[in-house]
């Protein structure tokens, strides 16, 4: 247990103290950014919904899925992303890393399991450089602009799951949707006399909104598991430290998620799920659409070595992205993933679990009269999650 506490503390402190880990997307230039799914690598390889999955996973979606856990532990996921961008024939590449989730798991009794953790929600990280020319001080002057946004919104949750029976559990969570975004605008001038000083403006926005989650997990028949959850929050408030910049209030978030999995054989499981969500709507002209996300996958547990199992997973997903401008088309994304698991001990109650998935995906959309071909991002996304449990 000491080792668990130590690793958990290291994970939490490192994640809190470090520069927020984020990954760029030009789709995050719209509204409050692009969704981050708070799922571990196992769920990411199985379609990314993270609800109604038979077996252990630590996704921060449905609190009821904690039920049945018998060991205290910590779990974290790390998600490096490499993206190639194409806008109107201009191509570039970006890369970055997210932490989709960090959580501490604590079984209070055989029926009650609690957890404290955070999961991603929206990522507003993007950075753009533009070059232009303007007549200043009587001469054509090269101008280089850097606009950068770093940060996002996460969910901090205190969750609990109660097992009414081995086949049915209810879960609930309360928490805070919180985060901050640093907006930086830098303009430099290439004047020949070098007397025009650069422009540099920074604003930090902080977000907060209380949230509550309810969910259930039900195994109606042998081999079948169903799960569903609903997350709702109050209006999201954005504040800043600038004297002349008023605070902003967004709409309230709502997310409904449902999933199911079925054990086709003793070694093969199929799962699928969907979410419907309404993200906080901005009080500007930016459009926030209600979005649907679907995903599913297969897991094969035939690879074993002694007590260790090596589950192999494949999955696909498709999702709508929530924000755009009024004259832009709706953006979407898809992904196909391959995953592998490493488990020590009982597969249903492991001592340590490490999961890995690699996903190839793309985001497209935002076609408009000014950007006729829209934006296309091809991405490679790796998710690595590690859970450690006390003996």
């Amino acid at each position: 247990m000491n080792a668990i506490v130590r690793v958990g503390a290291i994970l939490m402190i490192t994640a809190a103290a470090a520069t927020p880990a984020t990954a760029q997307s030009l789709f995050a230039t719209r509204g409050l950014g692009v969704p981050v799914y708070p799922v571990d690598a196992r769920a990411a390889a199985l379609g990314g919904i993270g609800v109604g999955i038979i077996g252990f996973h630590t996704s921060v979606v449905n609190p009821a899925e904690l039920a049945g856990l018998t060991r205290r532990g910590v779990s974290a996921a790390l998600q490096p992303i490499s993206t190639s961008v194409d806008v109107e024939g201009v191509e570039d590449g970006t890369s970055g890393t997210r932490f989709p989730l960090v959580t501490v798991l604590y079984p209070v009794s055989p029926r009650l399991v609690m957890s404290l953790g955070y999961g991603g929600y929206l990522d507003q990280t993007w950075g753009v450089i533009t070059r232009s020319e303007q007549d200043l001080n009587g001469e054509p002057t090269e101008i280089i602009d850097q606009l950068r946004s770093t940060g996002g919104i996460s969910q901090l949750r205190l969750s609990g799951a109660w097992s009414f029976s081995p086949t049915f559990a209810l879960g609930a969570a309360v928490g805070l949707m919180a985060g901050n975004v640093d907006r930086v605008a830098v303009r430099t001038f290439g004047d020949s006399a070098n007397v025009i000083q650069p422009f540099d403006q920074r604003v930090r926005w902080r977000y907060s909104a209380p949230i509550a989650v309810l969910g259930f997990r039900w195994d109606p028949v042998n081999r079948l598991r169903l799960g569903a959850s609903a997350m709702i929050g109050t209006d999201l408030e954005a504040s800043n430290d600038e004297e002349d910049l008023p605070d902003v209030e967004y709409g309230s978030p709502l997310e409904l998620a449902a999933g199911a999995s079925y054990r086709l054989t003793s070694l093969l499981m199929a799962t699928a799920g969907a979410t419907w969500s309404r993200v906080p709507s901005p009080p500007t002209t930016t459009v926030s659409d209600e979005t649907v996300r679907v995903g599913g996958g297969l897991e094969y547990q035939g690879l074993r070595s002694g007590l260790r199992t090596y589950p192999v997973r494949v999955g696909v997903r498709w999702a709508q992205l929530p924000y755009r401008l009024p004259d832009e088309s709706r953006p979407t994304e898809w992904g196909a993933a391959l995953g592998l698991g490493f488990r020590i001990g009982d597969p249903m109650d492991p001592a340590a679990v490490a999961d890995f998935s690699i996903e190839r995906g793309a985001r497209t959309g935002l076609e408009s009269t000014t950007i006729t071909d829209g934006v296309e991002e091809q991405l490679w996304r790796v998710t690595f999650s590690l859970s450690l449990f006390a003996r």
Partner: protein, 424 residues
Amino acid sequence: MKRWSWMCCALLLAACTQDSPTEAGGGLLPPDAIRTFEVILPAERFLVRDTSFGLYASEPVFADFTIIANEYRGAVNSRVLLRYAIPSAVTVTDTLGVARVDSMPSFVGGRVRVLIDTLASTPRPTILELYQNTETWDRLSATWTHRVDTTGASIPWTVPGGSPGALIGSGVWTEGDSAFVPVDSATIALWSDTIANPEAGAILVSATADTRLRTVIPTLRLDVRSTLNPDTLFEIVLAPTRTFIFEPIQPDSVPEPRIGGTPSWRTMLQLRERLDTITVPCPGAPGCMVQLGDVNINYAALVLQPVTAPTGFEPEISLVLTLHAVLMSPEVPLQRSPVSAPVGFALSSLPPSSFLTPGAPPVELPATDFFRLVLSEPDSAVGFVPSTLALLHGGSPQAFGIGTFEEMPGLRLIITQATELRTP
């Protein structure tokens, strides 16, 4: 377990890297996400007044140059008053090679050497004449009209311009950097006799019309024969007590900006209060007005229009225009208030031609950091914020001529706003 712990930390820390922005996607942002525009504030919006004072240090007696002029541009005359103290004893090397003091030297003649700044002088042959002065003068206060002009005494010259007497000698400057005016032994003997010739000295003038020469201090080179080594002529060099006097005399104060000159000019610009509340339109953005205290100023420069200097007083050398904060205090009159180190420099020096004819290009005096301070909202955490500025010729050497500008300069501002940051 330990291995897993280290792996976690390594992965977490490796993840915390900052990615570079992309050069694709500029079209996704509003074209005016960052907006830069120029504004020229007319003087009446930020200045209360401007006044120039020609009172400052570097009177002719303290200058390291002299001006000799004759009807320059039909207007300016200038003469150099000189007084050489002829020594009663000299140190010489005797026939044995030992340095000794000779108290009975004989001065067989000499010459005044006039070292001319050729780039700052009229480029034409000039006759220089050295006259005996017939009246004594006060080196600190002598002017074209008065040989003494102090608080307690005001004594005019009998003849304005120094009351020249007998001609001592003359020389012609044609080219090169030096001209020599011979001085005979009788004159040297006269100058040695301070009882018969009580500190009247000499006057060096130009006898060629429409000339103006800038020279270093004229020295007297004496040929000396010593009783200790009578076969050899020695030369000793004497620096004079000197000043130069000129006409027309300039007023103490004028309304238009002036810099340079001897005595030097200083222009005081008094700023209006609460410059941060000035609003200006954003060009190209209908209905947009910004308050200067709320925007980022990338460039701020006074814009001064050179005008023709008073006839004959155009600067003989290039001027360096500098801006200073005036350190005001209630006990000290404005014209005597000290000024700070420069807070702004013109990017290039101003050639004399800028002040010779109308239509010279405007001059910009950038002082961005300074104007950022005075254009910002008052903040008790900020100490002294100047309310008065001073323009002056901050270069070296000092100039005789005067740089003159149109009244009430404008202020050019380059301003940038970021609109994209306004929404979270």
